[in-house]
Symmetry: C2
Subunit: 298 residues, 2 copies
């Protein structure tokens, strides 16, 4: 029996519908969440991402501002802009689209954003709060993966989750998020990477397999056990002369063969991607609620 | 063949000898690292720990101050004292001995300590820097475990490390410390806990097993594979009428049976314990070096 498809578009739409309700309630109190997005340079993929994010804001009713700078922007100017947005009352969340040009240190940018407005969940303070299991902003992609699992009826509690990849955006934060003692977590977690020996012996043990190493179609059907739930975080471009653009996007798992073995699987595109944006919106609304509360108790 | 005993006392002595050399060099520049320890209440174990820590400071040549307060100390007074120590130039590291009495929030205490003086490595900012693989203070017990492995010739790189326990002091920070791509790390890591199913099937796969769940003699010989390296973080009191005190300390693993199967094992006491204190000293010297550098470039 072919695997159930975990539909990230549908689940993210449900989340956005819920957010619309929250936003209606905030509107009645005269509160409008605001997101500022900063884009430096003209990387085409970055432009697409920023457009998708601000379009999604508009769709649910979040106010957004976009700042586009030429690629030569001095680091100090960017840091000044961030400081200005940190102070700006109508802005509750700030995101700087990465990668930034060479002259700009991503670490300095992350540290410059007020942790209260860090809706990407990248600031070390928020990462540390996450690891300690304290309330904070969780990074959007790992949070989206966790929501996908819960809302598709695949709660990780008590399951063996095997994560492929230890990058700072997915594997590294996701591991402690899923092994902590909390609702929608509480999994036994194994983290594998390029130095892992006999990888297949570990992936074959996974009840839930999360592929996030950025290698096209790396995970094949012989590496998973029947019934496994597969979350594919990869988005790799491969050549495909049959398409208009000459390429198409594939994940880190070989979808066609694995869907015959797995119990459930996310497609690429249409799986994790839409969830990441939904969680950014969710974090922005959360940031606004927190900041409004802080102000009312000032 | 019985296991090699990994001697934490001996390895921690080597580390302390190295520190003495560093301290001599700092002395020539007129620099003396200083640690402030704060103890609230009269918990006997806490008193023992603080004494051990300050005695170790004295042994290597680190200046220390101890502040002892009655158990009724208001939280605000403690936070004021921490703020004063944050500003004090002769103090480079601050430690508050936990647990604190009920009226004092450990979270507030941790957040009050300047991350630059957080030699316990508990501040969320430092925890986040650690998870991001950036230079920071690493928490003393996980760091001690990593040093034990490296210095006993059991570098975790490429090995499968199974961690039992997900507490904030050991399992939670240790997992990302060991799976990151770095010297003395680079391991495949599995984190197990109370919700893990079929625990023995996972422990049997461990090349390195780290037991940190606080259950006396929980891990038995049938749960490990021959040649495994065992790091026992547990310190559990069990009754023993044959001793003067009526009790003795045992670890989380059944030492007597496992030492016949394992390749190497830490004893309790005398394994991880002395390493934790050595790493506190090491972090204090590091804090002093960093703060001296910051001042000289002011």
């Amino acid at each position: 029996m072919p695997a159930e498809i975990i539909d990230g578009k549908k689940i993210s739409s449900e989340i956005k519908e819920n957010l619309k309700g929250k936003l209606e309630n905030l509107k009645k109190k005269g509160i409008l969440p605001g997101l500022a997005a900063i884009l430096v340079g003209d990387n085409p993929a970055s432009q697409v991402y920023v457009n998708m994010k601000t379009k999604a804001c508009e769709e649910v009713g979040i106010y957004s501002e976009v700042y586009r700078y030429p690629r030569e922007l001095p680091e100090s100017d960017l840091l000044k802009k961030i400081e200005e947005l940190n102070q700006k009352k109508s802005i509750h969340g700030i995101l700087v689209q990465f990668p930034t040009p060479e002259q700009i240190s991503e670490e300095k940018v992350i540290l410059a954003i007020d942790p209260k407005k860090d809706v990407d969940g990248f600031h070390p303070f928020n990462v540390g709060m996450m690891l300690a299991g304290k309330p904070t902003f969780l990074p959007c992609t790992p949070l989206g993966i966790q929501e996908l699992l819960i809302r598709s009826g695949n709660d990780p509690s008590g399951k063996h989750v095997v994560i492929l990849g230890r990058g700072s955006l997915v594997g590294r934060p996701l591991a402690p998020m899923l092994f902590q003692k909390a609702k929608g977590a509480n999994a036994t977690v194994t983290v594998c990477h390029t130095a892992t020996k006999d990888l297949a012996s570990l992936t074959l043990q996974a009840d839930i397999l999360i592929a996030a190493m950025g290698k096209a179609k790396f995970v094949t059907a012989d590496m998973v056990k029947p019934g496994v739930v597969v979350i594919d975080v990869g988005t790799n471009r491969i050549e495909d002369p049959s398409t208009k653009s000459g390429y198409r996007l594939v994940g880190d798992v070989d979808f066609d063969s694995i869907k015959e073995v797995a119990g459930a699987i996310t497609p690429v595109p249409g799986g994790v991607g839409p969830m990441t944006i939904a969680m950014l919106l969710s974090n922005t609304v959360k940031a606004c609620e927190m900041q409004s509360r802080d102000r009312s108790t000032d």
